[in-house]
Amino acid sequence: MAVNVYIPTPFRRHTGGQSRVQVEAVTVGELLRSLAREYPDLAGRILDGQGGVQNYLNVFVNEEEIRSLAGLDTPLKAGDEVSLIPAMAGGGRRTERRAGRPPWLNIM
């Protein structure tokens, strides 16, 4: 059963430039493992060392992210669209130290 997979721009250099590929799979876990076999350079970007999904990667089945479904066990049916989208996040400012004297000077 073929499912459409959306490949995000940073992964396309590993899929020969393709932005969509077709994968035969009945669960999301099977789909990701099959992608990792077909495109070995993607393996470490998709799956972590324990076979789970990389933390930074969002995997959608149609409109839903799989963490709100059944994770890797989420079932797939013909015509589903799976989208892989790495996080866009960052952060910054170091926590600022409180102004004033360090606590060890407050003893007196």
Binding site: N58, I85, G91, G92, R93
Partner: protein, 132 residues
């Protein structure tokens, strides 16, 4: 990258409206020229110090960009109180080496500063911005 003034102003308005929290969004375009700004909510737990575009918005905007025949040209966020330079966390969490990372600083409210970077493998390369 090329940035129409109208889009620059949309970013500035979004950043000012969200301050003192960090703001974020995506930019669709073609061949290094920005065509459309998609402001998004900031889903970070600590939005004063972090940005994190919610998954639902990532999916929605990614589809809009594709439907419009555009590419993901840039990922935008603001630094309400610090300089327009990627923090260590910004660098660590940069997963899009082919996109520009745009950072708008409001540290001096009278003089906002926008800078563009490529971030790949922990390296930061500043890129020129032509506002036109």
């Amino acid at each position: 990258m090329e940035l129409p003034r109208r889009i620059y102003e949309e970013m500035l308005n979004h950043a000012r409206a969200c301050a003192p929290e960090e703001s974020c969004g995506l930019v669709g375009g073609r061949a290094g020229r920005a065509e459309r700004f998609f402001p998004t909510p900031n889903g970070a737990e600590d939005p004063l110090r972090r940005y994190d575009i919610p998954p639902v918005d990532l999916l929605r905007v990614t589809r809009e960009i594709e439907r419009g025949g555009m590419e993901l040209t840039a990922i935008f966020h603001s630094h309400p109180a610090t300089e327009a330079y990627p923090s260590a966390t910004d660098i660590r969490l940069a997963y899009y080496p082919e996109a520009f990372y745009l950072i708008l600083s409001l540290a001096d409210p009278e003089r906002p500063v926008l800078r563009a970077f490529r971030i790949a493998d922990g390296r930061v390369d500043e890129q020129p911005i032509a506002i036109c």
